[in-house]
């Protein structure tokens, strides 16, 4: 999209050192990274929950960078958290990067969630690695004195991600496909959805987000979803990542990845 307005947010290209790599389920790793140059302070970058980064895959595993959501930013330790799932060569190369190795990352990208629209009782729904951005979102909401509720969907009990971290922030409900943990079935079948919420923020597989959007719109609740369109540049330069909206084709990397469901043409 044309972007000629004055810049308020800046992008940075930074070398990060991997400080921790924690296996988080069958095919997912939680990476903690810190800028190789200790003068680079993440808290000065104005990072918002729901924004993402573009990672240069190590060893040129892929030609293009790969977009990954910002899972959490720990200001105290100057650490960036990324939750990465094995989806192919690029994500695997990122996951397999050893501790102390360097990842070149462009950040922070995209718009992020509208925190100020949450109301007093937001529900944060994540499926698979889609829970990643909800950790930072939940933490920020809590900082503002708002109590978020989490609902996470997973295949089975071994693939539930960030359960402990989310539970520290708010009530956390789980749905698994096989019923091996929490309730059996889809997140949209979880009993917690019969409660009243002031807003819903959702990130996960497309069918899940569409189902959640359907519920939110029939209940007339503010709802934002985070899209994962395939990206070329991640910075609004190539126009490859477009989503059809009520305003025409817009770049998910720039105008998104977070969209209010009313902007999307999912119901047509």
């Amino acid at each position: 999209m044309e972007k000629t307005d004055k810049k308020t947010i800046h992008n940075y290209m930074v070398d990060f050192l991997i400080t921790d790599s924690i296996s988080a389920g069958d095919d997912v790793v939680l990476l903690r990274l810190t800028p190789a140059d200790s003068n680079v302070m993440l808290r000065d970058m104005g990072i918002r929950p729901g924004q993402f980064v573009q990672v240069k895959t190590p060893g040129n595993a892929t030609f293009l960078r790969r977009p990954i959501s910002i899972c959490y930013v720990d200001d105290a330790t100057n650490q960036l958290w990324l939750l990465v799932r094995d989806a192919g060569n690029g994500s695997r190369a990122i996951m397999d990067s050893p501790i102390n190795s360097v990842l070149n990352i462009i950040l922070p990208l995209g718009n992020g969630f509208s925190i100020d629209k949450s109301g007093t009782s937001p529900l944060l729904i994540g499926g698979g690695v889609g829970v990643a951005p909800l950790l930072m979102l939940g933490a920020k909401l809590k900082e503002y004195g708002i109590k978020p509720t989490f609902l996470i969907g997973a295949k089975n009990r071994n693939s539930i991600l960030l359960k402990n971290e989310l539970s520290d922030i708010g009530e956390t409900y789980v749905s698994t496909d096989d019923g091996s943990y929490g309730e059996k079935g889809l997140v949209t079948q979880n009993h917690i959805l019969s409660n009243k919420f002031s807003s819903i923020y959702c990130c996960g597989p497309l069918p899940m987000m569409k189902a959640v959007a359907g519920i939110a719109s029939s209940d007339n609740i503010f709802c934002e979803v985070s899209l994962e369109n395939v990206m070329g540049c991640g910075i609004g330069a190539c126009l490859c990542c477009v989503e059809k909206t009520i305003d025409g084709n817009v770049c998910v990397c720039k105008e998104g990845p977070v969209f209010n469901i009313n902007q999307l043409l999912w119901h047509n």
Partner: protein
């Protein structure tokens, strides 16, 4: 510091490094990473007479050492550009070149005529080679007569430097280059993307909504270098080389093959500082090779 300035038509560039249309947005997207005023110039997104929504998603897929795209010239049209984007661009001191496209000869001429009025636009790049639109675009670029007719119309409408961007999707690119030289083009740039296709075998369907798209990135470089070398031998006007330039080394390959200037495209997505790194590399290269003026290197192969 070697003398890096080059001349394209009446355009004087501080150095031979430009950006490729459609890969550099309107420049602004890169202002956090590089000082845009260090570039020889930047070529902005393809602009058409009317606004265009472009093709449906998905528009991109990664391929070995490259990518296929099918953006389809999404842009808000020349009037929007003139009113809303151009004023923002005038704050930069490097040359701003507008890439134009059309679905008829008249379209091209009308866009060129409007841009001719803008004092900071000293050159346009005429895209007769876009593989991603149904009518016009590449259709003009694949025959000598089509290329000639667009060049002639634009030449009449635009008083400053006219660069014609050639398609590699032809049997003999030198024939097209000669045709546009004859009609008064000041320079040619090449290559645009190579038409390609990729299929998702698990889902048994093409990756792109349009089935076919344009291949760019490192994968196309040897084809591009060959074509620049051939065209440099075939015409007298300057040649601007592009296609898969990822580094300073790659840029020099094009210069030695006959390019007076080069454009950096897809590489901007991977390393947004590629352009300025190339400028530094060229300067260093000249010093290492005892070259006082970049012009001494052009086309020595």
């Amino acid at each position: 510091m070697a003398q890096l300035g080059v001349k394209i038509g009446s355009l004087h560039l501080n150095n031979p490094v430009l950006t490729a249309s459609g890969t550099f947005g309107y420049g602004e997207e890169f202002s956090d990473f590089i000082n845009l005023d260090r570039l020889g110039g930047f070529i902005v997104k393809g602009t058409t007479l009317e606004p265009r929504q472009g093709n449906d998603y998905p528009r991109m897929v990664e391929t070995p050492s490259g990518m296929l795209n099918a953006v389809g010239l999404q842009n808000k049209g020349v009037d929007y550009f003139i009113e809303n984007i151009y004023p923002e661009l005038t704050k930069y001191t490097s040359e701003i070149i507008v890439n134009i496209s059309g679905s008829s000869v008249e379209d091209y001429a009308k866009v060129a005529e409007k841009l001719n009025e803008l004092p900071r636009i000293n050159a346009i790049e005429v895209n007769i080679s876009c593989p991603n639109v149904k009518t016009g675009g590449m259709a003009f670029g694949t025959t000598a007569s089509g290329a000639a007719s667009v060049t002639k119309a634009v030449r009449n409408a635009f008083g400053k430097t006219v660069i014609v961007k050639l398609s590699p999707n032809v049997t003999d690119i030198t024939e097209i280059a000669r045709a546009v030289e004859c009609e008064g083009a000041d320079a040619v740039s090449l290559i645009n993307t190579l038409m390609g296709m990729a299929i998702d075998v698990e889902r048994q369907r093409p990756y792109l909504s349009t089935y076919t798209g344009g291949l760019s990135g490192a994968a196309v470089r040897p084809v591009a270098v060959r074509m620049v070398w051939q065209v440099h031998k075939a015409v007298k006007i300057p040649v601007i080389g592009l296609g898969g330039i990822m580094s300073g080394r790659d840029a020099l390959e094009f210069i030695l093959a006959g390019a007076t200037a080069i454009e950096v495209g897809t590489a901007n997505f991977i390393n947004p500082k590629t352009t300025v790194e190339i400028i530094d590399y060229i300067d260093d290269y000249c010093q290492r090779h005892g070259v006082s003026d970049i012009n001494q290197l052009i086309g020595i192969i």
